[in-house]
C-alpha cells in the first residue's frame, strides 16, 4: 500500500459532491450507481463522510463464502468481484460499519474500491476533506 485515503471530517461541509462523483463514476448502463460514500450529519451542520474503512482484518472478506471480496494489494482497497457475488447479503450484515451497500438500481452489492487507485470523490471534494495521498 503506497497510498492512503484520508478523511478529515472537520473540513466536511456536507455539500454531497462526493456522492455525485461516486455515483456517476460508477455509472453503468447509463444509470448512476449507488454512492459508496455518504456525508452523514451527526449533529446540526456537522458532517462525517462515511465510507468503507478498508479494515486490516475485514469482516466482509471473512463473511464472504464465495471469495468475491478480495484485497487489491496495490491500492489496499477491498474489491468486490461482481461475477462471483450471489447477493447473499452476508457482507452487508457482517460489516460492523455498514459500508457494504445494496444498490437497488443495478440490483447488486456495492462497496468502495477506491476507484482502482484514483478515487473520484477525493478529486471532486471542494473542501479537501477527502484526500488520497502518497504515504511518505
Amino acid at each position: 500500500m503506497k497510498y492512503r485515503f484520508i478523511v478529515e471530517p472537520w473540513l466536511c461541509t456536507g455539500c454531497r459532491t462526493c456522492e455525485l462523483a461516486c455515483a456517476f463514476s460508477h455509472a453503468r448502463n447509463l444509470k448512476p450507481g449507488r454512492s459508496r460514500i455518504y456525508p452523514l450529519a451527526h449533529a446540526k451542520d456537522k458532517y462525517v463522510p462515511v465510507t468503507c474503512l478498508q479494515c486490516d482484518d475485514p469482516a466482509c472478506v471473512k463473511s464472504c463464502f464465495f471469495n468475491a471480496l478480495r484485497r487489491n494489494e496495490e491500492t489496499g482497497a477491498i474489491e468486490l468481484d461482481l461475477g462471483r457475488c450471489v447477493k447473499c447479503m452476508a457482507c452487508v450484515a457482517a460489516c460492523p460499519f455498514g459500508c457494504a451497500l445494496v444498490d437497488e438500481v443495478h440490483d447488486e452489492i456495492v462497496k468502495c474500491d477506491l476507484c482502482q487507485g484514483d478515487p473520484a470523490c477525493a478529486h471532486f471534494c471542494p473542501s479537501k476533506a477527502l484526500r488520497y495521498t502518497r504515504l511518505p
Binding site: 471530517p9 471473512k62 459500508c99
Partner: protein, 258 residues
C-alpha cells in the same frame, strides 16, 4: 501464459483457466445458463459448446463445453460456426419443451430466432433446468443442504428425502444464482420461507429493519469467527453509529485544541 486463437485472433490466456473465461474476456458473447464464477463449472447446460482444433489434428475438430475445457497452447477455437448455432438452437428448443413458461428461456429463444419448439412440450414443466447451480453454490457455502432427489423424469432438487432441508441456513444464495429464477422464497414480517422451511429473520435493534436469517448469522459466526454482536443492528444504523462516533472524536479534538 499461453496463446490461443479465438475466431482467428491470437489471444493470451492464463494457465489453467477455462476456455469460457478467456472467450468472455474478449467480449465474445457465448450463452450459458449453468455457469457462475462463484461455483465449480459442471457443463450441464451445454450452451457454451465451442469447436476446437489444432494444427496437428489434420483438419479434425472437436466440440467441447468451453466452461469445462482448460486452455491449451495453440488451440484454435471457433465460437459461432453454423453447426454450433444449430446445436445451440436445438438445445434451447429442448429447454423450451421442458420449461415452456420460463421467461429466461423464451428470451434466449428470441435472441436465436426460435418461435416454437419441435419437441413435445411437457405440459406442467417447471422452470428448473437441472443445472445444479443451486446445489453447487450450497456446497461452496459448506452447507450441502440441497441435492438432486429421485431419478430420471422424477428428478427434482430438494432437501434430503424430499423433506425440508435441515442444514439450510436460509441465505438465498441458491435462489439468487438460479438462472431461470425457479427457486421461490417469501419474506414477511415474521420470517422467511424457502425450501418449505421457516426461518427467523434478524431485526435491527434500533430501527427494526430485517437483515439476514438468524441461522445464517449463527453459521457465519461459527464458521468465520465473527462475533454475533456484528449482526445486532442494520447497515443504515451502523453507518449512523460510525458517523456519531467519528463526530464525537472530532468534537473532543476540537475542544482539546481550543
Amino acid at each position: 501464459m499461453v496463446t490461443i486463437h479465438i475466431n482467428g485472433k491470437a489471444v493470451q490466456a492464463e494457465d489453467g483457466e477455462m476456455l469460457l473465461t478467456t472467450i468472455r474476456r474478449q467480449g465474445i458473447d457465448i450463452p450459458a445458463l449453468c455457469h457462475h464464477d462463484a461455483v465449480e463449472p459442471c457443463g450441464s447446460c451445454r450452451l457454451c459448446m465451442v469447436e476446437i482444433t489444432k494444427k496437428e489434428w489434420n483438419g479434425w475438430s472437436r466440440h467441447v463445453t468451453s466452461c469445462l475445457y482448460p486452455v491449451e497452447a495453440e488451440l484454435i477455437i471457433a465460437t459461432h460456426t453454423p453447426y454450433l448455432q444449430e446445436l445451440r438452437q436445438t438445445i434451447i428448443e429442448l429447454y423450451m419443451a421442458r420449461s415452456p413458461h420460463s421467461e429466461v428461456i423464451q428470451k434466449m429463444a428470441g435472441e436465436y430466432g426460435i418461435t416454437q419448439t419441435r419437441f413435445q412440450t411437457v405440459p406442467d414443466g417447471d422452470n428448473c433446468i437441472m443445472c445444479y447451480a443451486c446445489t453447487r453454490i450450497c456446497a461452496e457455502l459448506g452447507c450441502f443442504a440441497i441435492s438432486a432427489a429421485e431419478r430420471g423424469h422424477d428428478k427434482v432438487i430438494s432437501g434430503p428425502l424430499r423433506e425440508a432441508p435441515v442444514d439450510c441456513v436460509g441465505c438465498l444464495s441458491c435462489a439468487q444464482i438460479c438462472p431461470t429464477h425457479f427457486i421461490e422464497w417469501t419474506d414477511d414480517d415474521t420470517g422467511r420461507t424457502i425450501w418449505e422451511r421457516r426461518f427467523e429473520l434478524l431485526a435491527c435493534k434500533k430501527c427494526g429493519k430485517k437483515t439476514i436469517t438468524k441461522d445464517f448469522a449463527e453459521y457465519q459466526s461459527r464458521k468465520r469467527n465473527l462475533p454475533m454482536s456484528y449482526f445486532d443492528i442494520c447497515d443504515d444504523c451502523k453507518r449512523m453509529e460510525l458517523s456519531k462516533t467519528m463526530g464525537r472524536i472530532v468534537v473532543s479534538a476540537e475542544e482539546a485544541t481550543q
